[in-house]
């Protein structure tokens, strides 16, 4: 091996290393081509490097709306294993009517499978937004709402988590890299049983990451405050008073203190601090709730919170 050869190989290796970490597709592909042409790597190896590096570069933002939908369905199914559904057709119909009336004013009114809402038979104060728009609300959370405007505030907050894809962002990067590697390696063929098993494993782990965030660890304070701020805008666009967000959080704060910090308190910044943060931007006075809205809310929600 002469000096020219050594220099050429060194150059190629440096380039390859730089490319793998640079995330620049064009540079990487040019590099693997040089390496292949120089005979340092085979054509198959070049393709493998390109595919592997492409998979490493992909993040939760590269998940397609369809993939988000299937992750969301599994997240909802898993949450429902712990929190049973509340089979009250009239109340669920009302919840969906209210939720859809809000979702159309979201910055992301359309998702792959659309927004759907369900009540949970649990006294814990909690609400969950599975990726793609499946939103679950406990009976305990309903108790924090005195009127439709406040329930609208709860749903608006959850819709904004979906809008901002906060659930997907909680999936650990390693799982996605593994999944994208399996998918890329298999090209357009049907998955073999071994690959399907590996992919299902990564899928389960990804779903587990989201469920863990929703039920145990919680989103970051920054994500929560951005969902609150977006929810206030959403309420305004939909015609609900922004102050409903503050009155709901105040009521939640009282109830969470009584509940000893379970449920929502475990996964969210304190309701008191959230309400205080909103008070700096929302200055309007709290008005009496609209009579029709109060009547329809009380007709279906009151029997549930009072255990009738």
């Amino acid at each position: 091996m002469n000096a020219r050869h050594i220099l050429q190989m060194t150059l190629v290796l440096c380039l390859l290393t730089a490319m793998l970490f640079s995330g620049c597709e064009t540079v990487r592909e040019a590099g693997t081509k040089i390496a292949k042409d120089a005979g340092v790597i085979s054509a198959d190896e070049a393709e493998s490097i390109n595919r592997g590096a492409q998979a490493v570069e992909k993040t939760w933002q590269d998940l397609t709306p369809e993939q988000e939908y299937y992750i969301g369905r599994a997240v909802a199914a898993q949450v429902l294993q712990t929190y049973p559904p509340l089979d009250r057709p009239q109340a669920n119909a009302y919840l969906n009517l209210l939720g859809q009336s809000l979702a159309i004013f979201s910055e992301r009114p359309e998702t792959f499978g659309g927004y759907h809402f369900l009540l949970l038979d649990s006294d814990e104060i909690n609400a969950f937004a599975a990726p793609g728009g499946l939103i679950l609300v406990t009976r305990g959370m309903l108790r924090c709402c005195e009127n439709e405007d406040e329930l609208a505030a709860v749903l608006a907050h959850e819709i904004c988590h979906v809008e901002k894809k906060h659930g997907l962002s909680s999936i650990k990067q390693g799982r996605l890299t593994e999944a994208f590697t399996i998918i890329a390696a298999e090209s357009a063929k049907q998955l073999g049983s071994e690959e399907l098993a590996s992919l299902t494993q990564e899928f389960e782990a990804s779903v587990g990451d989201v469920v863990m965030t929703l039920t145990t660890s919680g989103y970051s304070r920054k994500q929560e405050s951005s969902a609150d701020a977006a929810a206030v805008k959403l309420l305004r666009r939909a015609g609900y008073p922004e102050t409903a967000m503050i009155t709901m959080l105040d009521r939640m704060d009282e109830r969470l203190t009584d509940a000893g910090g379970l449920g929502f308190a475990k996964t969210h910044p304190s309701a008191r601090s959230r309400a205080d943060a909103l008070r700096t931007t929302i200055t309007g006075a709290v008005s009496a709730p609209d009579a029709v809205r109060q009547q329809r809310f009380s007709a279906v929600i009151k029997p549930i919170v009072t255990g009738q």
């Binding site: 909802a76 294993q81 499978g113 999944a179």
Partner: protein
């Protein structure tokens, strides 16, 4: 000469602004008569379909479907990225790289969900019931009118 070049460039850029292909990224994209979520649905377009979209106006694209129907689609229903359908369907056409096909049609999809169901790991009964809750535009309009809700569209 300069004027001709500028005129050509203007024509090209105007053409791009008037109509560019966009891809439907929701399962059932609703093309509406007016740029509003409460507008009447004039056509539905399926996930992965490519349609011609004009310039974005306050979150809405004026669109023309492949069968010539005109209306409006919200920006959240459309993507500039190619969305290829899953392998094995007739929608997989030439011009789509295998990587795009793989990433769009495979991965976390119904094949994976079917395996989870088969293995008895997750029960989707209530997820399916929940996903079947449907609310029509008429219901929303009535709900908003009765509840004195006046918001911007």
């Amino acid at each position: 000469m300069k004027i001709i070049v500028l005129a050509v460039l203007f024509t090209i850029s105007a053409g791009v602004a008037i109509a560019a292909p966009m891809n439907v990224q929701v399962r059932n994209g609703k093309v509406r008569a007016t740029p509003s979520q409460l507008g009447a649905v004039v056509a539905t377009v399926e996930y992965g379909a490519t349609i011609q979209a004009g310039a974005l106006q306050r979150g809405w694209y004026p669109v023309t479907t492949t069968d010539g129907k005109k209306g409006w689609l919200h920006e959240s229903a459309l993507s500039k990225k190619a969305i290829a359908m899953r392998a094995g369907t007739t929608d997989v056409t030439t011009g789509v790289s295998s990587d795009e096909v793989a990433l769009a049609g495979k991965g976390f999809n119904e094949q994976v969900e079917a395996k989870l169901k088969k293995d008895g790991k997750l029960d989707y009964t209530w997820v399916d019931r929940m996903a079947a809750f449907a609310v029509g535009v008429d219901q929303i309009i009535k709900f908003r009118t009765q509840g004195n809700l006046r918001g911007g569209a």
